[in-house]
């Protein structure tokens, strides 16, 4: 079968950002999820939260130009903006674990059909970094996973059951990959959107659990 075009990182981030509604408090994980901050739909005011203890910060500064006492959870310097607030770690996780963060976007190694998440450790490495991932997965109202649909060698990462160490059970609400958008519902995974040129059947072939195809399943739209 001919290699079909998959969405690039920026496009995945763009699709994720489409979920952000006016006034949402959003926590973005390392890597691809962080890119979503560049694509907040025009006119929407979204507040970014970082677990280090800051809310409502602006964009990344150029390297070396920022204030190293104002960084996101990846340690990158960010710009101050009006309305920003800083707080300690206990308060930051009261905010996260108490359901005061609307959306959390994370990368993942694996997601199960029940919405279980595995993203803190590759078993081969034997050492992981939990950081705030478990707290965010449990505490935020809506958890979006942004990742490639398969591993580099084509194995599915959306599984009946995760084989990697679990970050949290039943926590993922939406999965945005390079070929599809799936919602985790009571009965399983609802395939809502497919990448341009992909059919639901082709997405299914790269997915372990059986997908429920939304009758309104359509091509991924970005605006």
């Amino acid at each position: 079968m001919q290699e079909k075009q998959k969405l690039d990182r920026e496009t995945i981030a763009l699709r994720v950002a489409k979920e952000f509604q006016d006034g949402d408090v959003v926590n973005l994980g390392l890597g691809l999820p962080g890119l979503a901050s560049n694509f907040v739909p025009s006119g929407r005011e979204v507040l970014f939260q970082a677990e280090i203890g800051v809310l409502g910060f602006g964009e990344l500064t150029a390297p070396g130009e920022g204030d190293y006492e104002l960084v996101n959870a990846s340690g990158q310097t960010v710009r101050e903006q009006p309305g920003m607030s800083c707080f300690d770690h206990a308060e930051s996780f009261v905010m996260i674990r108490g359901g005061h963060v609307d959306i959390s976007v994370m990368g993942a190694f694996q997601v199960s059909e029940k919405g279980d998440l595995a993203n803190y450790m590759v078993p081969e490495r034997k050492i992981g970094t939990i950081g705030g991932a478990m707290d965010l997965a449990i505490g935020t109202k809506k958890l979006i996973v942004a990742m490639n649909h398969t591993t580099k060698d084509g194995q599915p990462r959306i599984l009946k059951k995760c084989t990697y160490p679990i970050t949290a059970l039943n926590c993922v609400d939406l999965i945005v990959t390079d070929i599809a958008v799936m919602e985790v519902i009571e009965k399983g995974l609802l395939l809502r959107e497919v990448a341009p040129g992909w059919t639901p059947e082709e997405v299914q072939q790269l997915t372990e659990p059986a997908l429920i195809v939304d009758p309104d399943c359509q091509e991924i739209t970005l605006m």
Partner: protein, 260 residues
């Protein structure tokens, strides 16, 4: 006599830390919020078999020097000196860098207790607050549930997390006064503010010492009773030209590109 928690040197500030002590180290990961000079003093003292409670186990001075930090030591200094018996941390290793902690852990030379960041914060706060424990839903179904009691409350399952106490808390603040009142700057507040008071002795490294009354009552983040000693960073230091390894340069570049 007037209260005076200000001590005149970093070595004096850590003089009573002994082998086998449990120490909390403030900060998040970026060295800006870490008590660099207190860590250096603990390294000079050479105490061993420490248990360290800290969000990270450090990246090392080389990386931070490249980013232009004058005070560049993070928890890595205790790791590479072999002073740790055990670490309690949430992000002990890095996705972009094999740090010394990872090397020692693989070699079986140090122990690790993992925690989630929110539970670590709550457990430290519980010690400071005199609580016996807290129930949190975070960690259910994961490795963090192992060996811990669970309880169903109102139909939902929770893990019992116990307080983490320490002998010493080493923290970094922006300004401090002779009562031990502290304020922090921006994202450097993080674990520093909650570790203050969670240990028998809390030692604060500050950028500046101010007169009593200069910090307004409504903006003091850490009231004095949580702090036992305050020590100020020097304005100038002998900033030796250090050689930077290729490994550190590479991780620095990765950091610049996508964060740590």
């Amino acid at each position: 006599m007037p209260i005076n928690k200000i001590v005149s040197s970093f070595d004096e500030a850590v003089a009573d830390i002994e082998d086998g002590a449990t120490i909390m180290v403030g900060g998040f990961g970026v060295v800006a919020g870490a008590p660099s000079l207190l860590l250096e003093a603990v390294a000079r003292k050479g105490v061993k078999e420490l248990t360290m409670v800290s969000n990270v186990c450090g990246f090392g001075k080389e990386v931070w020097k490249q980013l232009g930090f004058k005070f560049a030591e993070d928890p890595d200094i205790l790791v590479r000196n072999g002073q740790l018996k055990k670490a309690i941390a949430t992000a002990p290793v890095s996705a972009i860098y094999e740090n010394n902690f990872e090397r020692l852990l693989r070699a079986g030379k140090v122990e690790l207790e993992m925690a989630s960041q929110g539970s670590l914060a709550e457990r430290i706060r519980a010690a400071k607050a005199g609580l016996g424990g807290i129930y949190t839903p975070v960690g259910i179904g994961t490795v963090l549930e192992e060996g811990k009691e669970t309880k169903v409350i109102d139909g939902k399952k929770y893990i019992l997390e116990l307080p983490i106490k320490a002998d010493f808390a080493l923290i970094k603040a922006h300004k401090g006064d002779r009562w031990g009142n502290l304020v922090y700057r921006r994202t450097s507040r993080n674990f520093n503010a909650i570790m203050a008071g969670a240990a028998t002795v809390t030692i604060a490294e500050v950028d500046e010492i101010v007169e009593l009354g200069e910090l307004d009552a409504d903006v003091i983040h850490t009231p004095g009773p949580y702090v036992d000693r305050v020590v100020v960073r020097p304005k100038e230091i002998d900033d030796e030209d250090m050689e930077i390894s290729d490994k550190a340069k590479e991780s620095y570049e990765k950091f610049q590109k996508k964060g740590g």
